[in-house]
């Protein structure tokens, strides 16, 4: 059995009476792809926000490779090896695609020479290769805000991967993408994660995607985990089918 990379224990947080996390206990194992599913407002994104330091839970703890990261700032958690891709792509829209990636690479290498231009960074080839993994090398010089949503989502993930994280947290990586495109995008994403050896957690609403790409599934319901296990087992659970899938 794989070692545990991330351990969440008894996480609790509420917003104006709504319990977004109510005693969440969850382990993320090294090398796996864990999908988080559940209805809107169940607390899935809140869990990602807690794990990346955007929110501090009222109770409970998150440990990453044995280190308590519960109250740390997002930048500190990022430096420890947890990267994040957002539901709405978070990019530097006044910079071109390659500059977005090079800035991530410079942050990773802590390369802050004030007289060496970003575009002359030695990681340029590595970043182009990363874009190639997503089939996006042709967009290297394009301005980010000139690209379609699906492409920007992939670039957002590529920026996160440029940090060479151990764990990547993604919030609905294929939302806003046409149903024809989403499998192609997920295939590219899964391949990139495999090439880089990155463990991943992704929030998803599309059960077909979960079934096809997740190693394990955690089902969220009103701030609690209803069920965790392999997709074929969890997605056929009558309670999950009734409460989450709506069958």
């Amino acid at each position: 059995m794989s070692a545990t990379l991330l351990e969440a224990r008894n996480l609790c947080i509420s917003f104006g009476g709504v319990q977004a996390a109510d005693g969440i206990d969850l382990d993320v194992r090294d090398g796996e792809r864990l999908a988080i599913i559940g209805p809107n407002g169940a607390g899935k994104t809140t869990f990602l926000n807690i794990c990346t330091g955007y929110l501090t839970p009222a109770a409970g703890s998150v440990r990453f490779r044995g280190h308590d990261i519960t109250a740390l700032a997002p930048r500190t958690i990022t430096r420890m090896g947890i990267a994040r891709a957002f539901q709405s792509p978070q990019l530097f829209h006044e910079q071109c695609v390659i500059d977005n990636l090079l800035l991530a690479a410079a942050a990773r290498e802590r390369a802050w020479n004030p007289f060496r231009p970003l575009r002359e960074r030695p990681e340029r080839d590595e970043m182009v290769a990363l874009l190639e993994l997503f089939g996006l090398a042709e967009y290297a010089a394009s301005m980010v805000d000139e690209l379609p949503e699906g492409t920007r989502k992939l670039i957002d993930i590529a920026v996160a991967l440029a940090l060479r994280p151990q764990l990547l947290l993604m919030d609905e990586p294929t939302s806003g993408v046409s149903s024809l495109e989403k499998f192609r995008i997920m295939d590219l994403l899964v391949n990139a994660l495999a090439v880089q050896g990155v463990t991943s957690v992704f929030v998803e609403h599309d059960m077909e995607m979960v079934e096809r790409y997740a190693d394990r599934v955690a089902v969220w319901s009103s701030g609690r985990i209803q069920s965790v296990g392999p997709p074929d087992q969890v997605l056929t659970d009558p309670a999950v089918m009734r409460d989450v899938i709506g069958v």
Partner: protein, 323 residues
């Protein structure tokens, strides 16, 4: 077409040679270069989308440090004054920066204004130390070990300022294109993503703030030595507003624009004051209105458009960059 591309170099050469043809102009040009250095500091912060309405405090702090050194030691070398003024302002920028970099936009601007008014009040009220509103005299320092006559010193100071302006332009240009400079722009566009890259936006802004304070300080020392007197007016809020005004005039966020704006501003101000003493501020106001309405990217933007017209298909701005 070729002439248009070399226009900046031609203008720099013209500025360098102008004092030879019109010797009295070197005082005004030195003032313009000193202000240009302070404006360059404002431009650095504009890259992060932050406007400081108090940067004259660093200008005044270094000018007064020159006055204190000259009076305290009964004379000093220009090189020491420049170094001391820059270090003094940079250190002051580091202390004040610790507070102001926690804030953004209007709060950042107003906090800078508040700090500058505290310094202004101190300079004005501590009469026995600073000379109050009369200010302090600044004697003529030695020039790298040489004692120069007044005219020779003014000429030497002008060319020193020109070299300093060139060096500052190069350094800031490189800085803005470095990972730190790109992270500075990212504060304006997406601070959330910056934090999720493991970069502290506050630390990046603090580094930029210290650099901008040091640049303003360098300009402040030049103006103190050029004028021979320092008064609290150097740190007044109107002076800070003037730096922002010039930054917009030259082309907000552009390195060369800082000096282009400062040169045009000083020349327009000088001739407007000479020919229309009662309405020169109004003339300056109309110039800025014209720039904002018809050339919102300032003089540098006008030049870039000129290049684009002269060479269609060859963008005036660097490819892949919107600034």
């Amino acid at each position: 077409m070729r002439l248009v591309r070399f226009l900046p170099a031609v203008l720099v050469l013209a500025v360098a040679l102008l004092p030879l043809a019109v010797p009295w102009l070197k005082i005004i040009l030195t003032v313009a270069l000193a202000k240009g250095l302070a404006v360059l500091g404002v431009v650095v912060l504009l890259r992060a989308g932050q406007v400081s309405f108090g940067h004259a405090m660093f200008f005044a702090a270094s000018a007064y440090s020159a006055a204190f050194l000259m009076q305290g030691f009964g004379g000093m070398d220009l090189a020491v004054l420049l170094l001391a003024g820059t270090v003094c302002s940079g250190a002051m920028g580091a202390v004040i920066g610790l507070f102001v970099v926690r804030y953004r936009y209007i709060f950042f601007g107003m906090l800078n204004l508040a700090f500058s008014m505290v310094l202004y009040a101190l300079l004005e009220k501590m009469f026995h130390v600073t000379g109050g509103s009369d200010g302090m005299a600044v004697g003529r320092p030695t020039y790298f070990g040489f004692e120069l006559a007044r005219t020779a010193f003014e000429t030497a100071l002008f060319y020193t300022s020109l070299v300093l302006a060139g060096a500052a332009c190069w350094c800031v240009h490189r800085f803005l294109r470095s990972p730190l400079g790109e992270a500075l722009s990212a504060i304006r566009t997406n601070e959330t993503r910056l934090e999720y890259l493991g970069i502290s936006a506050r630390r990046v802004l603090l580094i930029a703030y210290v650099l901008s304070a040091a640049l303003a300080g360098l300009g402040g020392t030049v103006i103190a030595v050029n004028q021979g007197v320092v008064t609290p007016d150097l740190g007044y809020w109107i002076r800070s507003g003037e730096f922002v005004f010039i930054a917009i005039l030259g082309g907000a966020g552009n390195v060369l624009g800082a000096f282009a704006g400062a040169l045009v501003y000083e020349l327009v101000r000088f001739y407007a004051a000479a020919m229309a003493a009662d309405v020169w501020q109004m003339i300056l106001g109309f110039v800025l209105l014209g720039i904002i309405l018809f050339a919102s990217r300032g003089f540098v933007g006008l030049y870039q458009d000129l290049v684009a017209v002269a060479a269609p298909g060859r963008p005036g701005r660097e490819r892949g960059r919107k600034r």
